[in-house]
Amino acid sequence: MGTRTGMEVSAAISEAVKLARAEIIAAYPITPQTHIVEELARMVADGELYAEFIMVESEHSAMSACVGAAAVGARSFTATAAQGLALMHEMLYIASGLRLPIVMVVVNRAMSAPISIWGDHSDIMAERDSGWIQLFAETGQEAFDLTIQAFKIAEDQRVSLPVVVNIDGFTLSHVIEPLVVESQEDVDKFLPPFKPVIQLDPDKPITIGAVGFPELYTEIKKQQNVALVESYKVIIEVWKQFREQFGREYHPIETYRSEDAEILIHIAGSTAGTARVAVDMLREKGEKVGLIRTRLWRPYPFGDIRKTVAKAKAIAAVDRCLSFGGPGGPMCSELKAALYNLDQRPFIAGFIAGLGGRDIMIEDFFTIVEETKRLLEEGQEDEYRMIGVRE
């Protein structure tokens, strides 16, 4: 039986890592990830978590140590943000290329310069194509649940890929929320010990990380992509098991009052909470507005998206990341790509908001919906607009 309690979301994630019985934690501090790793260090020091905590000298080494540890068959975890994630960049591709089921929480933060410790999604979007399974949480409960699920998904022998759970810096990581912390017994039932597909073992010596010549590189990359695309089925399976055991339901795309909505707001992460309030207020005024939130970002749930938005007239796609000189936010681009070949598709208006910790207020969503309606009638003027810019 779980315990209902109030808890800082960072601490809840540490609790989830402990309940998942992580064996290796290799991490380097960076705001706003620090509370997670400080709490894990405390747990190890107090004997609550029986793991090796490697206090590495950089994020590049954090991911390198996770790679080494996962390759010998230890359940490995790290957490980081922004500059730290960027420093890991090279290793992210290697972790997925070597098919090592590492779990990482990214506490999303804006990329420097100017240096900013506050939240947006530009850090993870730069790692979009790194071959990791990528999830976005909205609430503390979800962050807790996804962290436990991440190990099960990653380690499933049909998948054997690393997983990242994204949580918004400060607006999610540093808030205290009510949530259910599941018992060790129940988590153990859900998550069996890690059985690696490949392992560095003197009794069965294997070579990991060999040179891939042009005759083979393409095939190996195709294999990796097939594994990532097909992880979708396993993710759905894991969510089904999770619902059966713990009663909480998870889908690739979350919807709110979207059934009969003419205008759908699309967003990822904790800002969905504000968007939901805005939707309710607009509904009270008789506006047919709904919300969709992307939880599963990689593999991209093309089918779910197409089904969810089929009946809408327009989508207001809100990104907390700016693709410089490009067509708009990365999530907006993906939506457009997913829908372009359909005969009937909603109009898509792109918005950039919430950069570097700028709050997205209820009023901002009113503006976004108004703008979307206007653009729907008058036609698209430009690729996207930035919301809340002081001119």
Partner: protein, 316 residues
């Protein structure tokens, strides 16, 4: 020697005949790095995991689907062999505690070239030593980035011509002295540091064995002649390694728990020119420039002898 006659298999009895680094790897003829690996793996034995950095070794040993490694081996990237080994070592430690790994001693080795150690990998290197992982870091030093085409590293010796420190009208080649990695390793107060060279196999094997049996981090700095990069004839690899030691260019020593001990003291050192003359990378040097190098070698060697004397006197 009469003893040798009685025991024609003397050396094979001292050295394991098992080869853990396969014949037929893609190293150049006379590759000092390949030879060094062959030797230290004999001291390591089968219960060994090697974490390799990107570089010649990784390229020549692992062209998928072939491999030269008869022990478990992982290559991850260029600058992080020490960090990967940290994860391997800590992973084994916790898995053993949980009863999920062999309960016997496993040698964890991080293996990198001079570039992967002295330049891009020095941060991960320093971090892993400082954290006191129980592993051995082996640097096969061929004094340049050979894998990418003989570019200079901070371990390239003064005066050597490389593709990015070319000797020319305005330049002697490498203009800076060689970074002293063994001393940098020793500055971490680790229990064991040694220099060795595959031209002295018994010395290398003994030092490797000692490193593997050390509790905590150990560092082996292996001078590895490279016919391709040093531009010497491939049959001269062993000879050139010997000359490096005999001239005092590359002194053999150990630092055990902070105390330096010379493995061999060259009372009458051969002139540095003997070492230099076989190598194309030094061909452009004028006699006065060689004289300057000789002076630096002498000074460094004397300083090393002084320190060894001092350390050994403290011992007594």
């Amino acid at each position: 020697m009469p003893e040798e006659k009685q025991n024609p298999d003397f050396i094979p009895r001292l050295i394991s005949p098992r080869e853990f680094f396969a014949e037929g790897n893609r190293g150049c003829q006379g590759c000092g790095e390949a030879l060094a690996i062959r030797q230290f793996l004999k001291a390591a034995g089968p219960d060994t995991i090697v974490c390799s950095a990107t570089g010649c070794v990784e390229i020549i040993s692992s062209p998928y689907p072939e491999t030269a490694w008869r022990i478990p081996w992982i290559h991850v990237a260029f600058e992080n062999a020490a960090a990967v080994a940290s994860g391997v070592e800590a992973g084994i430690k916790i898995l053993k505690k949980h009863g999920r790994y062999h309960d016997r001693k496993i040698n964890v080795i991080a293996l990198a070239g001079d570039g992967g150690t002295a330049d891009i990998g020095i941060q991960a290197f320093s971090g892993a030593l400082e954290r006191r992982h129980n592993f051995t870091y082996i640097c096969t030093d061929n004094e340049a980035y050979m894998n990418t085409g003989i570019q200079r590293s901070s371990a390239t010796p003064y005066g050597a011509s490389t593709t990015t420190s070319p000797a020319g009208k305005e330049s002697i080649g490498q203009t800076t002295p060689k970074k002293d990695m063994p001393m940098i390793a020793a500055a971490h107060d680790i229990p064991y540091v040694a220099t060795c060279c595959p031209s002295y196999p018994m010395d290398l094997l003994a030092k490797a064995a000692r490193a593997f049996n050390t509790e905590g981090p150990a560092y082996l700095h292996v001078l590895s002649p490279c016919p391709t990069g040093w531009r010497h004839e491939s049959h001269l690899t062993i000879e050139i390694g010997r000359l490096a030691v005999e001239t005092g260019v590359f002194p053999l020593y150990e630092i055990i728990d902070g105390k330096l001990k010379m493995s061999v003291v060259m009372k009458k050192r051969k002139p540095v020119s003997e070492y230099i003359k076989h190598q194309g990378r030094f061909r452009h040097l004028r006699p006065d420039e060689i004289e300057e190098i000789q002076k630096n070698v002498d000074e460094k060697y004397e300083r090393l002898l002084h320190r060894a004397e001092l350390d050994q006197s403290l011992e007594n």
